[in-house]
Point group: C2
Chain length 343, copies 2
Amino acid sequence: MLIVRSDDDQDHHCLELDSAELILSWERPERSRFVDIATDAAGLGEVIPPLPFDRMLVETVHEPAYVEFVEHAFSRWKDEGHAASAAMGFGWPARRMRNVRPDSLKAQLGYYSFAADCSIAEHTWKAAMASAAAADTAAHHLAAGARSVFARCRPPGHHATSDQFGGYCYLNNAAIAAQRLRSTGMNRVGILDVDYHHGNGTQDIFYDRGDVAFCSIHADPMVEFPYFLGHADETGRDQGLGTNLNLPLPHGTGADTWFAALKSATDWLTGLAPDALVVSLGVDTFMDDPISQFRLVEEDFTEMGRRIARFDRPTLFVMEGGYATAQLGQNIAAVLTGFAGTS
Amino acid sequence: MLIVRSDDDQDHHCLELDSAELILSWERPERSRFVDIATDAAGLGEVIPPLPFDRMLVETVHEPAYVEFVEHAFSRWKDEGHAASAAMGFGWPARRMRNVRPDSLKAQLGYYSFAADCSIAEHTWKAAMASAAAADTAAHHLAAGARSVFARCRPPGHHATSDQFGGYCYLNNAAIAAQRLRSTGMNRVGILDVDYHHGNGTQDIFYDRGDVAFCSIHADPMVEFPYFLGHADETGRDQGLGTNLNLPLPHGTGADTWFAALKSATDWLTGLAPDALVVSLGVDTFMDDPISQFRLVEEDFTEMGRRIARFDRPTLFVMEGGYATAQLGQNIAAVLTGFAGTS
């Protein structure tokens, strides 16, 4: 299995509002290190860097004005003289308010986000672009014939919409990869999001399109972030009607329930006959994850990989969440070795 | 001029996210003390406490489920074991997300708000209810024949919608007063909001109603909170079409421009012939206000009172913002003495 990764994420860390306290984000630089060590130890295959990239790469799924905003938000923040080490909004265009883009930076930080668990710091743009480039490069290789590729992305991407950051995500790596696969001539791409949290950004980007089918297994948004999307009755719109499937599960979900949902997901995806599969691979479904409430264990991740392999499509794994940092590497490696048949 | 006030706000203070730092809110208990000292010194008239009140009072303009939420949010927060001294959300139902009310407290804190400059602390409910009661009691007296009444409300109210807190506001005191005046038989009530910030909550509550006309003079939402409402093209809807007027002004606005807007506002209100006037009286238009960018001085506040008196309707002043705490009292007193003709 080819692995695409970059160290350009290592300077990216930012502030998070968590239970009315400002903390350094749970989404930390060492996450990458632990994953790289574990995947190297598993001997999965060749490791390559992302191809050179530019902003056109991300404007395939993001609004150019949003991309411009993410690139320059932190320098504008510093120019305004704020002391805090990351730029964060404080007001959001909630219901019955208007989505007219304001001029001020503080306002745009709200306009272009949906959560305060995520902020834009000095090295965020570089990391987000490198992460997107890893996903895009992985897609190139999958399109060129690889059976599977792992894009070790950080920051994650699946919460980012076409014009909003949130949930530690700025650019939607899985969506960028899926769009790249489409542009190489595949008729339909399936996205399977196994992160603990609903991939609201990915759903939103493809909600009215039938050429990219999105399926997510996640904690019920009634009790878990992102809260305001991810319900079972969201099935797509217009050309995308019938190509969106949400499988929300309750707190405390263990392997039996989770794998039953995975079967529903792969059965549904089979019916849509995608040419390739993008897996949004979060392992915050792990029982010891510090901010999540599912109960999968390491062997379950191996089994997850095996079952995804049985779906038998060219498969691109894009790393998403997982915050039990010390065990993150072995859980990611377990999925990949399960898939590769090397465990 | 009758003054209605309560000390039940004195224990209410809470956390505010300001430029990616958590601070004790600019909206502080001593604001009331400074105003009480200055209005007492001005000898404006009798001071009375609010009448006894219950939640029915606020459910005239707020969703019962929202009122229930505000009442119990802090005890739920403590029951969940959070260390922070105030309950604050971190995710909001921004554009293209759904307004399905989630079950979890953290999610509901986002569902029922639009900003993180405002949180719910131990004594918030008591203070908000006493503040609403002061406005309601003032309306009773105005309906009974008083020419003018000052409700020294704290916390302020004009940002609170029927089901959202934000901008230091939880219950919309001005809206509650206007609704009370309507229920006493007045055909139409006018609301003049002179706070530096747009009264988005008041506008939202009456936007589709013709019986309460709302007019606001405020900093342009393109550059100032609440950012996502308060534009000049918001003129009302359905029965309320033509009974909403926004007069956004640029940063740096001084007396000449401000009073020209006031003339537009009172001319417009005259055309709608309200039986009474509710003034959302924020004095954060003051040149030394720490979080605002207009340039009014104390003599301008006296003149403001005189001009409002010339509108010649029974007038209920409801206190809103103003964060230059030491000068807050004299600026409020200047408006009221200008109105009363005692200066």
